[in-house]
Amino acid sequence: MSITKPEILKLANLAKLRFSDEELDRFISEFDQIIAFADTINQSVEGGTDEIRSVSSPLVSHEELREDEVLPSLPNEKILSNVEGENGFFSVKRSKNERSDF
């Protein structure tokens, strides 16, 4: 199965990524190979998806959950130390296409 340009663009939109035209052309041919590789999974499964019982990882046990108690949070000023912050909030530039009446 070959993936089409509109399908790739839809995926890119879901993933919040943009590609230049040049990147997109390269990406489509690579992605075809990657999908063909992922498709080999379908050669190896006997029976249908009816047999599927659970999609959670069998490695994880949720039998013991920790107590639901309030613990101290990380300090606000530390969390804001990596980016522009204003009055204790993350801030971004006002953009021309955004509503200004918030």
Binding site: L17, F31, N42, S44, S54, N82, E98
Partner: protein, 483 residues
């Protein structure tokens, strides 16, 4: 230098050398070697010297454990409070976490000395460390070749005497394969044995932190400190390991070693022959060899890439330029800012994996890929369970080839994915495995052998590895330890 933790620790305790002096020696070694190898991407020398002073005080007070005062390094995806941690990605450029990963918190309490953060594939996505935004680390055995990946910088640092040990992370082989390529020991612990709190997530149901060391005993010493329950990681286990170090007796008589032909299909002949020689050595010394079948092995690669990429596409959704790391300069709207930030910040391999993950989780494809991968994952896990009802350990090559030349597989992503065939099954099943050097090929590049065990049986695989290290006659020039 090239001294094991045990020896360094003895010298520190006896007062033959102080931690500050030892740390300065490692700093000199990094300053001399790193420009050629590119193993470190962020150095923390001032911090290391402060930690070393603190370790010297602990040693004087008789409080230090085996790791006290011993200089080491962390992979660039393990968070350290106030110290740059970037996953070797532009999108986390300049990011300084505001908390310590549990593993670093534990090591700090033991007096560990952090020299810096080591190079890796961007977000741990790769098998050569070439997808790093800082350029690839080079293999200290031969700088025309890759270190392997994704914990390539850590493997190179330990191999080239730039750290006594390193912590890496292993999602599909990222500790074992670079350990194999650089001729050192790499332990991927049981899923849940070591807390993942503070490890920047790639494939959360597969990721596990573990040590890269010069010797098997060193791997056990580090594992002993970093393992243990952590209520900040929901998948952390309360398993009681007892005394791992005391389990080292080198006794392999009567141990049952499983050998699955499927692990040797398509493997380079020199690697095959060295691993089979090692198996014969175990047999001559009283182990029983059992031929087993693992037909599920051929399904492991697509299962791994579907699950890992699905989890990655969700985990990497958080990089939007708002809370940390890179943010694009010019944008028309918040939506535009997020698109531009992510498109500028992520490298091509990360984008490929996010796209594949988005594809297998998207409407119409979820059942055909993600759900099927989950079912086969259960079958693979059961296949290993059946094997470990009959065998104590399983022995296999760590990788189908020795270290590739630089940029060798850069043209085809799928060719690169296929090179993970020997390592990914272990992550899918959540079981432990250790890679140890078992010789060199004609080009002088190290060959790695993988010893795989059942869940929480790190003691069995490490003991088997220890026997081989002591008796396998693999000297330092052959990629092993000088004993």
């Amino acid at each position: 230098m090239r001294e094991v933790i045990f020896e360094l620790s003895n010298k520190l305790r006896k007062g033959d050398i102080s931690s500050v002096e030892l740390t300065k020696e490692y700093i000199r070694s990094i300053e001399e070697t790193n420009p050629k190898i590119n193993a470190y991407v962020h150095s923390t020398f001032d911090y290391a010297l402060d930690r070393a002073k603190n370790a010297d005080d602990m040693l004087k007070e008789g409080k230090g454990s085996l790791l006290c005062g011993v200089p080491m390094t962390l992979k660039d995806n393990i968070c350290t409070d106030g110290l740059e941690t970037t996953c070797c990605s532009r999108i986390l450029d300049g990011y300084r976490p505001y908390y310590d990963a549990t593993v670093w918190e534990k090591l700090k309490n033991h007096g560990a000395v952090l020299l810096g953060k080591t190079n890796m594939d961007e977000f741990a996505m790769g098998s050569t460390s070439e997808t790093s935004c800082y350029g690839p680390p080079l293999n200290p055995r031969n700088t025309d070749h890759v270190t392997g990946g994704s914990s390539g910088g850590g493997a190179a640092a330990v191999s080239a005497n730039m750290a006594a040990y390193a912590l890496g992370s292993d999602t599909g082989g990222s500790i074992r394969q670079p350990a194999s390529f650089c001729g050192i020991v790499g332990l991927k612990p049981t899923y849940g044995a070591v807390s993942r709190y503070g490890l920047i997530a790639y494939g959360s149901s597969l990721d596990q932190i573990g040590p890269l060391t010069l010797s098997v005993m060193d791997a056990a010493i580090v594992f002993d400190v970093i393992k243990g329950f952590d209520n900040r990681d929901q998948t952390s286990s309360k398993h009681d390991y007892g005394d791992i170090i005391k389990a080292f007796n080198g006794d392999i008589k009567g141990k049952k070693i499983g050998v699955a032909q499927e692990y040797f299909d398509g493997i380079n002949n020199e690697i095959k022959s060295r691993v089979l020689d090692a198996i014969k050595l175990f047999e001559r010394n009283g182990a029983e060899i059992i031929d087993i079948k693992l037909p599920q092995l051929k399904q492991a690669l697509p299962v791994y890439y579907i699950l890992a990429c699905a989890e990655a596409s969700s985990n990497l959704g958080r990089y939007d330029g708002i809370r940390y790391g890179h943010r694009t300069t010019f944008y028309d709207s918040i939506e535009d800012m997020i698109y531009k930030t992510r498109s500028e910040g992520f490298g091509m391999e990360v984008k490929r994996r996010i796209m594949l993950g988005t594809y297998v989780l998207s409407s119409g494809y979820y059942d055909a890929y993600y759900k099927k991968a989950c079912i086969i994952r259960e079958q693979i896990t059961k296949g290993f369970d059946d094997i470990f009802n009959k065998c104590d350990v399983l022995i296999a090559p760590t990788a189908p080839d020795t270290a590739f030349p630089l940029n060798y597989k850069g043209q085809s992503p799928v060719d690169m994915y296929l090179s993970d065939i020997c390592t990914v099954p272990v992550n899918i099943a959540g079981i432990p495995a250790v890679s140890i050097p078992c010789g060199i090929d004609k080009k002088g590049l190290p060959i790695g052998m993988q010893i795989i065990g059942k869940k929480f049986d790190e003691a069995a695989i490490l003991n088997m590895a220890y026997f081989y290290e002591q008796n396998g006659n693999v000297g330092i020039e052959q990629g092993g330890m000088a004993l």
